[in-house]
Structures are given as C-alpha cells and as structure tokens.
C-alpha cells in the first residue's frame, strides 16, 4: 500500500518551516535557557541570559529572525518507504520550499556557489538535505537552520580504541574549550561516536535534533552526557564568553557500531539559537 504526498505540499511546508524556525526559538531550547538563567550565579552571565531571552521574544513577537545568520538550510528527511511523491522530485520540492521561505521571510541568503570562488547564490540554495528511508507511509521533515559561527567550531578525530571513554570525553571538552566564545554560548553540544569518518559527523549533527536536554536512552551514554555537561560548564566560558556557569545548555551523544580498529568521534556545536522545527506528513 503506498500513500501519495504531493510535491507542492512538501514545498509549502518547507517554506513555512524555514520562516518559523528562524523566528521562533523552539520550546525545548527556551526552557533550557530559562532553567540556566535560574541556576546562573555570575552577575554578567545572568544579565546576558536575560538579554538572550528578550531577543528571542522579539523574534517571535515581531516575526523577525532571532539571529541575522539564518543559516544553511539543513533539512533532514525520514521518508517512509511506502510513500510516493507525486508531481515532482523530493529534493526539488524541498529546495523550492527553501527558496520561497528565505525570500518571503526576509531571511538572509548565506550560501556561496563555490567554496573557493565564493559568489553568493542569492537564494540560500542549495539546501543541505539528508534523507533516510524508513519503514511506514509517513514523511517527516525537520528544518534546522545552522549558522556559520557555531558550525565552524566543529571537530572530528579518529581516536584509538584504547583511548576509550576518557579519550572521547577529553576530545569533546577540548573542542569546546578551543571554541571558547566563538560559537555563541550557551551552546548545545552534539557528539557522534562510532561508525566511520563520514557517519560520525552526521551522528553529531543529528544529535542536535533531539529535544534539547533529553538524555540518550542508553544509561551508559546518558551518564557521559551529564559528566560532559559538568566538565564543560566548569570551563567558565559562560554566556557570550564573558564568564559564568552556563557554557552549554546540554550535551547530546549519538553512537553507532564501528570497526574493531576504530573509535571515531565528532563534535558539532549549536549556538543558543538552536533552531529546529519539524512536520510529519
């Protein structure tokens, strides 16, 4: 049994998600910021968190982008294998939605055609699309606009199996320390562990899509997340890097099987405007 979804429907949903994601801070991120504000003890940090919350309110109330860096349009698709897309190709439908959304929403166009020759595409295209085929007859689309500042502070390393849990933890803390004020703290830290060189980077990014502050379902990794958050917040970088207890709002780890010789680890950081919005068709 296949279920038909119109390409035009995908386009209009993606258009809407691009605008909403850039104007409205997700509730999970908002709650984490509120919690951090209540816990924060350092005066400058409290003040900075207040301003960050105020800025997010302005975005939602006045329908303007929370941050001018409205990002690369990262789009994650879970395509049920019983879905048939009618009236167009899936990637074209998504790209058209991104183009329309960035135009209609007065969002910044930040993509360049070529990484070295650097001419702006003026449409924010192409979207960066990651598609997985899954069971069922639904189509889930997540739009996660990703700013350049936090993206540039990512790190990846192929550790030795002997480096183990401690090696992974140290690598993550070192990456956050090296990033310092640059990725717009308080940050959300996405960590990928396992797989291979390319999969581990995707794991780190997908970890950021989880509701902020939710734990890994495996208690072993959930405990690592708690320990990492504590170590990161002890760095004292604080909101905007001015010092304080709130350097990270959450650490999310995503793991997968790997080779007997390998221990890949990747860190992908999100700024405090940790945008992600999804729809299921």
């Amino acid at each position: 049994m296949t279920r038909t979804i119109l390409a035009a429907n995908i386009t209009s949903r993606v258009r809407q998600l691009c605008i909403q994601a850039n104007e409205q801070l997700p509730e999970d991120v908002h709650n984490c910021l509120m919690h951090a504000r209540l816990q924060e003890t350092w005066p400058v940090a409290r003040q900075t968190l207040d301003t960050i919350l105020e800025n997010a309110s302005v975005g939602a109330a006045e329908h303007v982008p929370i941050c001018q860096d409205t990002g690369m349009a990262c789009v994650f698709v879970e395509l049920g294998q019983d879905v048939q897309i009618a009236g167009g190709y899936l990637e074209d439908a998504i790209n058209e939605g991104v183009r329309l959304g960035y135009e209609a929403g007065y969002l910044r166009k930040s993509m360049v055609v070529d990484p070295l020759r650097r001419e702006n595409t003026k449409t924010n295209l192409p979207a960066l699309i990651t598609c997985r085929v899954v069971r069922g007859d639904r189509l889930k689309i997540t739009v996660a606009p990703k700013g350049g500042g936090a993206e540039n502070m990512g790190a990846i390393k192929m550790l030795r199996p002997a480096d183990g849990r401690q090696g992974v933890m140290d690598f993550v803390v070192d990456a956050v320390r090296a990033a310092g004020p640059n990725p717009c703290p308080p940050i959300v830290v996405g960590v990928g562990v396992g797989g291979n060189f390319d999969h581990v980077a995707l794991l780190a990014k997908e970890a950021l899509l989880r509701p902020t502050g939710d734990h890994n379902p495996d208690p072993y990794y959930a405990q690592m997340e708690d320990e990492l958050l504590e170590r990161i917040n002890a760095l004292g970088i604080g909101p905007a890097g001015f010092g304080g207890a709130t350097t990270a709002l959450a650490v999310h780890i995503r793991q997968m099987p790997t080779h007997i010789a390998c221990l890949p680890v990747a860190v992908n950081l999100n700024c405090h405007v940790a945008r992600h919005m999804e729809v299921v068709l």
């Binding site: 900075t48 007065y106 003026k122 350049g148 640059n182 004292g236």
Partner: protein
C-alpha cells in the same frame, strides 16, 4: 552602564577597559569577510577606502534583509577571527574600533595596543534586538556583495562590551578566569 557617543577618539578609546559595558551612539560601518578582502586590496594599492578610516568603527555584520517599514533586518555580530588576517592593516590605516564576537589572534591584540584601538563584543545571536538600535543605514560600497556590502549605519544606544582594550587586557581571558577563581574560593570555604 556608561554612555558614549560620536567619534571614537584616541582619548575616548584609551578611557575604556576590558569588561566595561557601554551604550554607543554614533556612526559605524559594516564589513565582513568579502569586504575586508577588498578593503585591504585597496590599501595595498595605495587607493582610498570607500569610507574615511580615521577613528572609524567597523562592525563585523551582515544583516538580514529589511522588512517593509524596517531600517534594517536582524543584524548581530559575526565571528571576528575570520577578519584577523586583515585587521592590523585597517588599524594602521586609522580604524579605531572593532565590533564583533569571539576571539582575536595575537597580531590583532598587538595592533590594538600599537594603534590605541579597542575591540568590542556585541552579543552573538542578538540580531533582532540590535536591529532596534539602528536609526539609519545606507550602503556605501560593494552592493554586489549583498549582505556583505559595506553599510554606514547610525546607531543609538547600541549595547557593547569592551573585550580587548588599548592596553591589551582581554575579557575573554579575565572573565572566565574570574568565574573559575570564584568557584575555587567557594570550594576552599566549604572545606
């Protein structure tokens, strides 16, 4: 919070210290990656810049498009370190103030000390709020760069924090260190 306005003279710059919070009113010029490349090419050819660099303030920012009725779209700071390769030359040309976010390399710190300049941070991610401080915005060069064009903006009470002062003090080192010292002091007291 201190209010400062107008030209960032050497005297005014010298009076600012790392950690100071100020509300700035006056003229600033936006320029980021692509515009910096062009500005430094002009300096190297001995040609004039599209704005007078004497005591100028450069804001590392590329705004979102203005909606109807807006002076400018959201316009928070971008990461400053990408401009490090160009910044000492601009400071030597007379630029006095830099506004961005994030760390600078030693060449920039040294140039700030040498020329009496100041590096301010605007808080990253506050694009919607900072746009409210912009009273006027005119593109003065490089319109072809879109968001990366150079704009002359008149700002009113723009909230800034002095990160690196003209003596080389650095809030990104001092702030976190002071917080960690307070933790250590609290732990010692608990023992």
């Amino acid at each position: 919070m201190r209010t400062i306005e107008g030209v960032l003279t050497p005297e005014l710059a010298a009076s600012l210290s790392a950690g100071d919070q100020v509300l700035y009113s006056g003229v600033i010029y936006t320029a980021r990656d692509a515009a910096h490349k062009r500005l430094v090419e002009l300096l190297e050819k001995g040609e004039p810049l599209p704005f007078d660099p004497a005591n100028a303030i450069i804001y590392y920012a590329g705004p979102a498009p203005a909606k109807p009725g807006q002076v400018i779209g959201s316009v928070g700071p971008t990461s400053s370190y990408r401009m490090d390769p160009y910044t000492p030359q601009l400071l030597e040309a007379g630029v006095r103030g830099l506004i961005g976010k994030g760390r600078r390399d030693q060449s920039v710190v040294d140039a700030l000390v040498r020329t009496g300049g100041v590096y301010f941070a605007a808080i990253g991610g506050l694009g919607a709020l900072i746009a409210k401080c912009v009273a006027d915005s005119v593109t003065v060069a490089y319109e072809d760069l879109g968001t990366e064009a150079i704009r002359r903006m008149v700002v009113v009470d723009m909230p800034l924090t002095v990160v690196i002062d003209s003596r080389g003090n650095n809030l990104y080192e001092q702030g976190p260190a002071a917080y960690r010292a307070s933790l250590a002091a609290a732990a010692a007291e608990a023992n």
